[in-house]
Every structure is written in structure tokens, then in C-alpha cells.
């Protein structure tokens, strides 16, 4: 049994009093990939964005319930959101590298969090880029603009950027949906690599992707968590009719 990396209890999210996620409780194992699937607008992305309190920045969003990392409920008003977010990395659908050099994209976070030593920063940059399988492609152009990279490279850079601040959890919101199949394959490979160290929670619209890379899958429908089980079981023997309808492509 894997250790629990993050655990949501009775999470309820609304936008301007319209419910988007209703009373969802989910445990995420560390060193595993958990996929969140469901049709558009089912609340899976909203749920994901609640886990690092990113919904705080959206006017009208309200998140109630508990989110536990270890013995800390991070959805409490007392939580220091800024230091919390250091523990939870995030990767978006569209690659969003900073408008800075490749090196700065990675070094910016660690430097802000107190690492001033140039040599140490160099090491972090190299290590993060290696982990993100981007080192060989970028080592000779670290000080050129990150915006000149291809979409797939940018997305791996964003993953490298988030692991550079040493999180224990990484949230991914459809990280490959804007990429071509080759880049997608690379990202998936990378995710499989990264799960040896991190608790990865990934939102995806791609059933095959969920089946390929995740250990566990949660199916959301209209703000409700319909079913949550091991990915094998979800794809071969789902317990609920809605789940099997969705997975087999009968709707959504």
C-alpha cells in the first residue's frame, strides 16, 4: 500500500454560488499517478485547481472542505498559501514558460526561495532539466529565450520549472492536449519516470492516456465523483453504468 500524498475530504467548490464540485473525497497515493477523467465541465479541473488553492485567485470561487497533506489541512484560512504552493507543482494545458531564458525559467523559483549560490543554482537547473528529459536539447542554449523552444519542449521546461522548487505533489491539467503525438509520448514517458518520486494528479481527456500512465482513475460527472478505483479495474470492470458508458465512448 502506498503512502497517502494528499487527501481531499468533502471538498465542495462553487463559482458565484453555482456548484462545480460537490462533496468529493479522494485520497491520492504518493509515488503514483492518479488520473481524473470526465466530460468537459464535470469539475475535474476545478477540483485539481483547488488542491493548490489556485481557485483563491478567481473572484467568486469558494472552496469548502478539507485538503490534507500529512497532518496539515491546507484548505484552512490559516494556511500560508505561498509556502504551500511550493510543495505542490502545477503544469497547465498550454505551455506557459516565463518570458525569460531557459536557465531563468528554472532558477527563478529556487532563487526566490533562498538559494543564492550560483553553483548550487546551476546544479538545480541541470538536475531539473535532466529529470524533465530536456537537458540534452537545451544545455548549449540555456541562456536563450524559453519562448524559442517548441511546444513540447516548453511543456517539459514547465515541468522542470515546477520540480526545481522540490515539490512532493505535481498537478497536471491536460498537460499533453496541446501537443503533437510525438511530444505527447515524451510527456507521458516523463510522467511515468517522475512518479517514482512524486504524487502526480493528472486531468486528461484522453482515455488511452489515462490507461497508459495512471495507477488509479477517478471519474467525475457534473461535479460528482462517480467512481474511483485502480485504473485496470476502471477500464475493464467499472462498477457504475455511467463510468462504463463514458469509457466506452457512449457519451462525453
Amino acid at each position: 500500500m502506498h503512502e497517502i500524498g494528499l487527501s481531499a475530504k468533502n471538498l465542495y467548490v462553487s463559482y458565484n454560488d453555482k456548484p462545480a464540485v460537490k462533496n468529493v473525497s479522494l485520497d491520492f497515493a504518493s509515488k503514483q499517478v492518479t488520473a481524473l477523467i470526465g466530460p468537459s465541465g464535470c469539475g475535474k479541473s476545478t477540483f485539481l485547481r483547488s488542491l493548490n488553492r489556485m481557485n483563491d485567485t478567481i473572484p467568486g470561487a469558494k472552496v469548502t472542505g478539507e485538503i490534507w497533506i500529512g497532518d496539515e489541512n491546507i484548505n484552512s484560512p490559516k494556511t500560508d498559501v505561498v509556502s504551500l504552493r511550493q510543495k505542490i507543482g502545477m503544469v497547465w494545458q498550454r505551455p506557459n514558460p516565463f518570458h525569460k531564458s531557459i536557465y531563468e525559467n528554472i532558477a527563478f523559483g529556487p532563487r526566490y526561495h533562498g538559494i543564492k549560490n550560483k553553483k548550487k543554482l546551476d546544479e538545480i537547473v541541470e538536475e531539473s532539466l535532466k529529470k524533465a528529459a530536456l537537458w540534452n536539447e537545451t544545455k548549449d542554449r540555456l541562456h536563450t529565450s524559453a519562448l524559442a523552444l517548441s511546444g513540447g519542449q516548453q511543456q517539459r521546461l514547465c515541468i522542470a520549472r515546477s520540480i526545481a522548487v522540490k515539490p512532493s505533489i505535481i498537478l497536471m491539467d491536460e498537460p499533453a492536449s496541446a501537443l503533437d503525438p510525438v511530444s505527447t509520448a515524451k510527456i507521458e514517458e516523463l510522467i511515468t519516470e517522475l512518479k517514482q518520486e512524486y504524487c502526480i494528479i493528472i486531468v486528461t481527456h484522453n482515455m488511452q492516456q489515462a490507461a497508459r500512465i495512471s495507477e488509479k482513475t477517478a471519474f467525475f460527472l457534473m461535479g460528482d465523483l462517480v467512481e474511483y478505483d485502480s485504473t485496470d479495474k476502471m477500464f475493464t470492470d467499472p462498477q457504475k453504468k455511467q463510468t462504463s458508458d463514458y469509457i466506452s465512448g457512449r457519451f462525453g
Binding site: N52, M54, T57, P59, V82, S83, L84, R85, Q86, K87, I88, G89, M90, W92, R94, N96, F98, H99, K100, S101, F108, G109, Y112, H113, H143, T144, S145, L147, A148, C158, R161, S162, V165
Partner: protein, 296 residues
């Protein structure tokens, strides 16, 4: 019924002729001012002081006053405008109060400039005892320029993609650090371009300055750079006639025999300066964008 293609052709023709009309009108205006004025512009004209009744006066002090007043105005408005713009874009909670503030800012920017000038005369010049001075003029110009700066900053920040901001926050950066280090570099070309364009308005303003910065300058001593001395060009509390005010004054009450030529020359200089602002704004915006994004 007409065919869709015919309608399309007519619409295109109408739009092109309207555009051409505007371009010709503007080009004609600009050409008229430049042709009339440029012949009179020389280094001597740009540097020598004006003459009251004899020929051959220049616009040196006026040009200096205009630039110095612009500088003073920007020193006041840029920090305030940036601060207020960042607040409006990133900190203000949407709601009635914010909408009200925004409305006030809009109203402020559309004040008739003569009203601002008279307000400046009553409050700044008389009540606060600033007298006709560059400082009073700069404060009056702040009334127009501040709303522009707030709006420019706000728009600049709003144009930054949301994911950029979220990426900063998700790394555990504070809100302030995210704004200054992640969002500002992306917004700055927009803000800078807007600021320089706004400077053009300040540079050409006359009505608000008639009764604040005044319609005369002391005999400036360009060798005296002590800002406290009354004849120093740098003294912000001395009266200062700007270029635009000078044009208005010699056109309406100029006694020099070459008053018309001087007004034409000064107008050409004014227009060319504003044109330069626009060109510099574009060039600088592109340069900074390239520098910050390290792209080619």
C-alpha cells in the same frame, strides 16, 4: 436584390474611400504645418530666447520649459499611475467601489482642459500659494495624465496571460513578486508605449497651463543649474511658458514683426517632437520586449 458579391464590393470601396479621406486630411494638415514652419526652423531658432518687439526671436526657453514640465509631470504621474494601475488590475475586488473608482478615473481624464486650468489657478496657484510655476503646471497636467497612466498600467497587466500569473503563484512566489518579476516584464512594452504616447498629450497641452505654469518665463540663465535660484532653468517654482502656450500667445498678441513665422516654426517643432515621441515609443517597446523575452 443585390448580389452578396456586389454588396461586398461596395462596402469595400466605401471603407477604402473613408480611410483615404482621413489619411489625406491628416497628411494635408501635417504637410501644411511642416511646409509653413520648417523653413523657419534652425539651430539658432531652437536655442535663442524670444524677442518681444524685434525680429529674429527663438523658442529656446519654451522648448526647454516644455521638456522640463513633461519631465516633472512624469515624475509625479508615473509612480502614482503604476501604483494605482497595479491596484486596479490585481488587488481591487470587483464590485461597486472598484467600478466607482474606475468611473472617477474616466471622468477625470475627460475633463475639459480649460476647466482644469482654472481649477489649478484657484486651488494650486492662489489657495496653495504656488504662484504661476512649473510645479503648479505639472500638478494640473497630472489631472489628465494620471487617469491615462492608471488605464495604461491596468491594460498592460490585464494583457498578461492568466497562466503566466498562475505559474508564478504556483511556484510559491508571493503575489507582489509575481506581479513585479513575472507579469511586469511582459506588460512593460505596453505600459512604456502608452506612457510615451500620453507624453505627447502633455507636451502639446496649452489651455491647462495658461493659468498654472503661466504665460511668461523669467530671463533664464542657462549657466545657473542651482534648482533653488530664481533664474535657474531647473527651478520648479518659477513661472514657465511652454511651447504650446507660446504658440497661442504670439498668435493672439505677438508684437514681433515675424510673429506669424515664429508661430509656424514653433508649431512644426511641436509636431515633430510629438512625432518623435511616437516613433521612440514604438522602437523602445519593441526593444524592451526583445530584451525581456530574449527573443530575436
Amino acid at each position: 436584390m443585390m448580389k452578396a458579391k456586389t454588396v461586398d464590393k461596395i462596402a469595400t470601396a466605401v471603407i477604402i474611400s473613408v480611410a483615404a479621406f482621413i489619411v489625406i486630411l491628416l497628411a494635408g494638415l501635417l504637410g501644411y504645418i511642416l511646409v509653413r514652419g520648417l523653413g523657419h526652423v534652425s539651430v539658432d531658432f531652437l536655442t535663442s530666447p524670444p524677442e518681444t518687439i524685434s525680429e529674429g526671436g527663438g523658442i529656446g526657453p519654451q522648448l526647454f520649459n516644455s521638456l522640463f514640465l513633461l519631465f516633472l509631470t512624469m515624475i509625479i504621474t508615473v509612480p502614482l499611475g503604476l501604483g494605482a494601475g497595479i491596484y486596479m488590475s490585481e488587488y481591487a475586488k470587483p464590485g461597486r467601489v472598484t467600478d466607482f473608482i474606475r468611473l472617477l478615473v474616466e471622468v477625470l481624464s475627460s475633463f475639459p482642459s480649460i476647466v482644469v486650468g482654472l481649477f489649478g489657478l484657484l486651488v494650486l496657484v492662489n489657495m496653495f500659494g504656488l504662484g504661476f510655476s512649473l510645479f503648479a503646471g505639472a500638478l494640473a497636467l497630472t489631472v489628465f495624465n494620471l487617469p491615462l497612466m492608471v488605464r495604461i498600467t491596468e491594460q498592460g497587466l490585464k494583457s498578461v496571460p492568466r497562466e503566466q500569473k498562475e505559474a508564478g503563484l504556483a511556484l510559491g512566489l508571493s503575489k507582489w513578486k509575481t506581479i513585479t518579476s513575472i507579469m511586469m516584464p511582459i506588460a512593460i512594452p505596453v505600459i512604456l508605449t502608452g506612457t510615451i504616447l500620453a507624453s505627447g498629450r502633455v507636451f502639446g497641452e496649452a489651455a491647462a497651463l495658461l493659468f498654472t505654469a503661466g504665460m511668461s518665463s523669467p530671463r533664464l540663465d542657462f549657466s545657473d543649474w542651482n534648482p533653488l535660484s530664481p533664474f535657474s532653468p531647473l527651478n520648479p517654482f518659477r513661472p514657465a511658458e511652454t511651447l504650446a502656450v507660446h504658440i497661442w500667445k504670439i498668435n493672439s498678441e505677438g508684437l514681433a514683426p515675424d510673429a506669424a513665422e515664429i508661430a509656424a516654426g514653433a508649431s512644426a517643432v511641436l509636431i515633430i517632437t510629438v512625432l518623435l515621441f511616437n516613433l521612440v515609443a514604438r522602437w523602445l517597446g519593441r526593444l524592451i520586449h526583445r530584451k525581456f523575452t530574449a527573443s530575436k
